[in-house]
């Protein structure tokens, strides 16, 4: 099952040092991700504060149902990911494989629903440049008069950039998970060699955390008066 070679790299003194370093290294990488997503969140905040009513109107048209279902799907995938790490630590190979495959399935579900959602957005004329009709928005009343279609387009640009960037990270995560499945099937993920699962898990959970913030910021700002907006 397991091949007979030491997992301790030549430049580390012991496994504890190696594992601590690997965990720290991934956290450092995640802090760069905080900044890259944070940069676009900052831009979003600037415009959200400037054009609150136009942004709310745009947000009200986004698909809250799919967004919420996707949130639950992603949180579930975090659970199965955490369980994968647990399974590796206690040596339950079958559970590890099952949980990894479930995580992939849930991740795939998320991406599939996202594709469906983008398609519906396209059909609903919510894609700037490609499918957007300003005249559909000029009759919409925000709290301070008619909504400006250009500002709606601005919000939608953010929606696609932020969910798109998130989706790219999901796809990379799926690739990492597939690699883990291959390693698991070769019997290379064990009670001693568990760091690959832990480190991929950290990445996967982080991508989940980004979505946790995308939900209220993008989808839920307009729901409270979606009914009043007279679409």
């Amino acid at each position: 099952m397991s091949t007979n070679h030491s997992i301790l790299a030549h430049h580390f003194a012991d496994l504890d040092q190696q594992r601590e370093t690997e965990t720290f290294g991934m956290w450092l990488f995640l802090s760069t991700e905080i900044l890259i997503f944070g940069a676009v969140f900052t831009c979003y905040t600037v415009y959200r504060l400037r054009y609150p009513h136009d942004f709310e109107a745009a947000s009200a048209k986004l698909n809250v149902l799919i967004g919420s279902i996707n949130t639950i799907v992603l949180l579930s995938s975090s659970l199965t990911m955490a369980l994968s790490v647990h399974a590796t630590r206690v040596g339950r190979q079958q559970m590890l494989l099952t949980c990894l495959l479930l995580t992939i399935l849930l991740g795939g579900t998320f991406l599939g629903l996202k594709v469906l959602e983008y398609y519906k957005d396209y059909k609903d004329n919510l894609v700037p440049v490609l499918a957007f009709k300003p005249e559909e928005w000029t009759q919409v009343q925000g709290e301070q008069g008619p909504v400006q279609p250009q500002r709606v387009e601005l919000m939608l640009v953010f929606y696609y950039v932020m969910t798109g960037l998130h989706a790219v990270h999901m796809i990379v995560g799926m690739g990492l998970l597939i690699w883990l499945v291959v390693e698991a099937r070769k019997g290379l993920l064990t009670t001693v060699r568990y760091m690959p699962v832990e480190v991929v898990g950290l990445y996967w959970h982080f991508v989940d955390i980004v979505w946790i913030f995308l939900l209220p910021l993008l989808y839920l700002t307009g729901t409270h008066h979606a009914a009043d907006l007279h679409f």
């Binding site: 995640l30 990911m81 955490a82 630590r89 009670t191 955390i209 209220p216 910021l217 700002t221």
Partner: protein, 96 residues
Amino acid sequence: MSEPITPTRTYYSVFAALIALTLVTVAVSFVELGAWHTTVGVLIGVVKASLVGLFFMHLLHSSKASWLAVLAGLFWLSILMALTLSDYLTRPLLQY
């Protein structure tokens, strides 16, 4: 082994809390809260993110260095936001 192994019961409890908080976030968004919508949504998000970070990501048992990485990232992001907003939020104050 360096890190303690988190029991599965903890994972399931955290998951239940996360789902509950998600439902709360969505439900609350339909209630008229005026200007507080985003703040409430983000605050609940912070609680959820903390649960994921502490338990799923094992921050609770991680080295000080890992904590430093997270806190540094968040601190620097707050600098970016605060100082950029210091420009945009003070612009309406100027009358030319």
